[in-house]
C-alpha cells in the first residue's frame, strides 16, 4: 500500500498493511533544510522544500500544511513575535474587549499573505504528492479564532458575561473559518486538523463547552467541504469527546497519550479516526529505544483498532529533536504491521 491508500483505508476502517505513521513535522522541515524560520513561515516554496525534506527523511503517511497560525492573528490586528526555533506566537491579541469588535478588520482569505502562504503551501504539496501522500491542513475553530482575536481572558469574560457579544464575535469568526477551511480543501487538503485551546476541561466546565461547542461548531462545520480532525494540543479531552463526536464533518480525534486510549475510543465510537502518539516533548527527551518500546506498547493497546493512526501528541515536534528519535517511531510502526480482527 502507498501512504494515500493506507490513510484512506484507515479512514474507512478497512484492512491496512500497517498503521499509518503521521507525526506532526511542520516545524521540523526547517530544521532539515536549515531555512531561517522567518522565511520558512512566510514563503510557501520554502515551506514545501522543508516538507520535501521531511518526506525524504521519514516517509510519513501524511504531510502537513504549515502549522503557523499566529500571523493570522496578526492579520486581524494582533502583534506577532518570531522565534529562531519555534513557530511565531501572538504577543498581543487584536482587541481585549468585545466592545472593540467593530474595529476588527477581517482578513481576506484569498489575499491575506498569512493565509495564502498556508493555502499555497497546501496547493503545492498536494500537487506534488496527492497520488501517494495525502496533505492535511492545520487551522483553528471559530471559537479558538475568537481567542486569537481577543485573548483567553477577553474571550472567557465575554462568554461568561455577555452572550450577545459572544454571538457578535462568532458572527465574524464563523464565516471567516468556513472560507478559510474551504480554501484549504480547494487547495487539496484531504482533512484539516483543528487544535482546540478553549475546549479543554482545564479551562472550561463541560456546561460551557456544550453551550458554545454544539451550536457554534455544528453550524460552522456543516458548511465545510471536507472533514476535520479535532486535535487536543496535548491537554485532556476525554471529558469533552462526547460533545464533539456528534458534530458534522468530524472525522476523528488527535489525542494526548496521557488518557487511556481504550476509553477515548469508547467515547468516540468505532467510526472515527483516533490518532495518538508519544508527546512531542518526550519525543525529544527519550532515547530512540524507549520511544520504540513505547510506540510498540501503544500499538499493542490498539491491536484491534481499525481506525488508529500513530502520530505525535502535543504541538509540533520540537526543533531540537534528534532525527533517530522520530525514526524510532517509524521503525516500530513498520515492524508492528496492521490491526488484527478480534
Amino acid at each position: 500500500m502507498n501512504s494515500a491508500e493506507r490513510i484512506f483505508a484507515t479512514m474507512r476502517g478497512e484492512p491496512v498493511d500497517r498503521h499509518a505513521f503521521a507525526p506532526i513535522l511542520s516545524l521540523y522541515g526547517a530544521k532539515l533544510t536549515g531555512c531561517a524560520l522567518d522565511k520558512y513561515y512566510s514563503d510557501s516554496a520554502e515551506y514545501v522544500r522543508g516538507q520535501d525534506a521531511v518526506y525524504e527523511t521519514f516517509e510519513p503517511d501524511m504531510l502537513l500544511g504549515s502549522f503557523c497560525l499566529a500571523p493570522i492573528g496578526g492579520s486581524f490586528g494582533g502583534k506577532v513575535k518570531l522565534y529562531s526555533k519555534d513557530a511565531p506566537n501572538l504577543v498581543r491579541p487584536a482587541i481585549s474587549s468585545p466592545r472593540q469588535i467593530t474595529e476588527i478588520k477581517v482578513p481576506d482569505v484569498d489575499r491575506d499573505p498569512a493565509i495564502t502562504y498556508i493555502t499555497e503551501g497546501i496547493r503545492l504539496l498536494a500537487g506534488k504528492y496527492k497520488s501517494k501522500v495525502p496533505v492535511a491542513g492545520i487551522a483553528l475553530s471559530p471559537i479558538d479564532i475568537a481567542i486569537m482575536i481577543m485573548g483567553m481572558d477577553g474571550w472567557l469574560e465575554t462568554v461568561m458575561t455577555d452572550e450577545n457579544a459572544a454571538k457578535r464575535v462568532l458572527d465574524i469568526t464563523t464565516p471567516f473559518f468556513v472560507q478559510w477551511l474551504n480554501a484549504m480543501f480547494d487547495a487539496g487538503a484531504f482533512t484539516v486538523f483543528l487544535p482546540t485551546v478553549f475546549f479543554n476541561p482545564i479551562f472550561i466546565p463541560k456546561s460551557l463547552a456544550v453551550k458554545y461547542a454544539l451550536p457554534a461548531l455544528s453550524e460552522a462545520f456543516a458548511q465545510l467541504n471536507g472533514p476535520v480532525i479535532i486535535h487536543d494540543t496535548g491537554a485532556p479531552i476525554l471529558e469533552f469527546l462526547d460533545i464533539f463526536y456528534k458534530i458534522p464533518n468530524v472525522a476523528g480525534f488527535a489525542v494526548n497519550n496521557k488518557e487511556p486510549l481504550e476509553l477515548l475510543r469508547e467515547k468516540i465510537s468505532d467510526n472515527k479516526v483516533l490518532a495518538c502518539g508519544i508527546d512531542c516533548y518526550e519525543v525529544k527527551q527519550l532515547s530512540p529505544l524507549e520511544i520504540y518500546h513505547r510506540t510498540i506498547k501503544m500499538l499493542d493497546n490498539r491491536k484491534y483498532d481499525r481506525r488508529f493512526i500513530v502520530s505525535s501528541s502535543g504541538a509540533d515536534i520540537n526543533f531540537d529533536t534528534p532525527i533517530e528519535n522520530i525514526t524510532a517511531i517509524k521503525k516500530a510502526v513498520e515492524e508492528y504491521g496492521g490491526w488484527t480482527i478480534r
Binding site: 519555534d86 483567553m152 482545564i202 479551562f203 472550561i204 460551557l208 516533548y281
Partner: protein
Amino acid sequence: MFGGLINRIVQQLGSGCEMDEKDILTDHIIKLRLNDAQAIIEQWIKSNGGQSLFIDLIEPILADIGERYNNRQISLAQIYIAAKIARDWISRYEKELETNELNATKGPVVIANIEDDCHPLGRRLVCSFLRVSGWNVCDLGIDVPIKEIVNKAVEIEARVIGVSAMIYTTAENIRTLKDEIITRNLDGKIKIAAGGAVFRLRPELVAEVGADGTSMTASEAPELFDRLWKMTL
C-alpha cells in the same frame, strides 16, 4: 500586601460569616454567573462594608474554589471568576489598605511571563492570589527579558521570582534565568517558582529547567512562595 491586615481584622471581628451569601456566591462562581456574583458583592458591601467582604466572603470562597480545582471538580474559568472578584476588591480598596497602619507585607517578589511567553492568564491569576495573601508583587507582564527580571529582583530585593511559561520551548528559557542567577552569585539568594500549563502536564520539568518549585494551581501559589522565601539564604 494585605495578609497582616486580614489576620488582624479576622481577630477583631471574629468569624461572622454569612453562610447563605457565601453559598450563593460560590454557586454563582461555579455556574459562571459573573454578573450575578458581582451583584452579591455589591449587596454585601452595602450591608456590611467593603473591608469585611474579603475576610468573611472572598477568602473562604477562594479556599473552597482552590480545593475544588485541585480535585478537578472545576475548571480555570471558575478560578478566573473567583480571582476577578478578589482582584476587583483589591483595586477598589487599594488606597485604604495601603495607607492602613495595620498593613503588613510579605516579599517583595517578582512575577513575569518568561522571555518569549505571551500567555498572561495564569500569571494574572497567580498575582491576584499572592496579593490577597499579603505578598508585595512586582508584576513585569509578558515576554520579559531574563536580565530585566533579575535586575528588577535585585533592585527591589526580591527573594523569589515567579515565572510562567505555557509551552516547552518557552519553559526552556527558565534555564537561562537560572544561569543568570548563578552568574551573578545570587544562587540560593533568589529562588525560582515556575508555573504554566507545561508544568502542570509535566511536573518533572521544574527541576529540569532549574526552577525550585511549582504549584498546580494559582490558589496554591502563596504557599509555594512562603516555602521558597524561607529557603533563601
